[in-house]
Symmetry: C2
Subunit: 341 residues, 2 copies
Amino acid sequence: MINVAILGLGTVGSGVAEVIEKNQNQIKKALGDSLHVKYILDIRDIPGAVKDINVIVNDPDIKVVCETMGGKEPAYTYTHLALEHGISVCTSNKELVDAFGVELSAIAREHNCSYLFEASVGGGIPIIRPLRESCGHENIIRIAGILNGTCNYILTNMKSGKNFDDALREAQEKGFAERNPAADIEGHDTARKIAILASLVSGKKISYEQVSCEGITNITPEDFAYAESRGMSIKLLGVYDSSGPYVNVAPYLVPNDSPLYGVNDVFNGIMITGNQVDNLMFYGRGAGKLPTASAVVSDVIECAKSIGHNIKNDFADLNLADNLVPAPAIPERQKFRVLGE
Amino acid sequence: MINVAILGLGTVGSGVAEVIEKNQNQIKKALGDSLHVKYILDIRDIPGAVKDINVIVNDPDIKVVCETMGGKEPAYTYTHLALEHGISVCTSNKELVDAFGVELSAIAREHNCSYLFEASVGGGIPIIRPLRESCGHENIIRIAGILNGTCNYILTNMKSGKNFDDALREAQEKGFAERNPAADIEGHDTARKIAILASLVSGKKISYEQVSCEGITNITPEDFAYAESRGMSIKLLGVYDSSGPYVNVAPYLVPNDSPLYGVNDVFNGIMITGNQVDNLMFYGRGAGKLPTASAVVSDVIECAKSIGHNIKNDFADLNLADNLVPAPAIPERQKFRVLGE
């Protein structure tokens, strides 16, 4: 039995507990052992939960911690502490991975444990691990991803004629957008995610602050009518292109023969172009309790198979990118770039 | 330096040599070592090629063999021999995996080497490994895959009004269909691939012969007009459904809100439905020299990282499925089943 702890019993954290409970039989088959949630840490008063991280990191039974708190603190301090104790950490926290992923990965390596973050990009979609393993030998030329389900839901609704404000309101009513939706609709969430993916494939750490970022607030129903007249749709994409290299977030016109064209509603789709394999796309639920938790659990199983060993995550040795160039300018008399042009 | 041998210098085999040569730098990064093609075996007179498998399996330098011959013999005998010598085998040969994958996987385990077959399904698309690793803890409810590029090319062309014979002829002229296209258009190729995927997730070996199989030869332009009037398209799908369980290959009506709807031309798309992660889709080139070779090379790298150890491929312990039921009947007054109904 492998004992784990969950830090933060919010949406994703409670999902992790649920996936571990409900899929125990499958987990045993995949891992050759069972997973047991020994501790839940939460700052709120939750029956059975602990509030002191030291209880967890000083328990030699604990081999893996799931950091599902979000935000920088106390997630950073707790992750640091766990890794220093040789406890692997699996996280869905893109903000932390972007800001401190390189440092935390180096600490993990030093202490023969692992820092994995599959759930930080694309929710339940397996993307980080396939990039690292199945595509590790590919020269990745481009990544173009629909990485924010809130924006994609709003844009899918605008395609059928709604204006931005109405589409946003509907997304908020259905729980797909926050009351303060800025991080989503201004593209910052997408920027964090494409920065993580671009760092993985470019060999340099690209940070969120280096990503030029335009959101979806200026898109009009007329823009959609224009796109449709050209057989295209409008999607908010995070793009990495090795030819600059550049990384940007912006609304793009997506032709209807692109696999990203049909990625609608809250779904995400990440297109990877390798020099040998050509275009791949990975599609699935980019957010939500159980899909995101499933990605965390896949990392937990990988860590549990490698106790006492560091799993190379390609982040530990990265230097900050100093070679980025701006994305190509939007062509004259066009409001948006066209994907692939 | 890790020495490998390529068995069969056809389309995929020569692609493997090319990927290893052209992506050597990326391979070094991914593997921490370089790959070197020490032998090529081919029955034809090719300068530098060997014809005797014993030269390869008796060379202690050889750690991994790529079996890209296709067909049952001599691929079976050569694979058997390599594995008995503790040499891992990576293959694109779906016929062999379907017929002898269980036996060969058990031999690999016994001799502390590995038998991997990422390239046998979906060409360049990472699907076997993500299923085994990223989704190993999921309870897979359904797989629905567009697994044959030839059929998908023909159907994409029929969608724009061509009849079957003209669409087939065009596919043959462009090199996307064989002169004898039976294995593709009658669904047998798709059946082999869905049998492999279904075996991986069901815990039983499902063989090609157990898959009820209907091809695309009876589809008419009128069928496409009807599909379009319902907002759907027609795709040849290989389907595994855990609720029977059943496995079948048949033309399906695919609604336009399914991610499979937009998988066109020679591309493949494989939708996986897990009980926690919900729908995932993996998309890419399902055939072709370099994409398929890239998948073989990803297996070679995995084997090269695990020399002396068996990589569990979930095939070694499977018993033949004895619990399959027929797929649900086609509803009255319909010619095809509808995906998801």
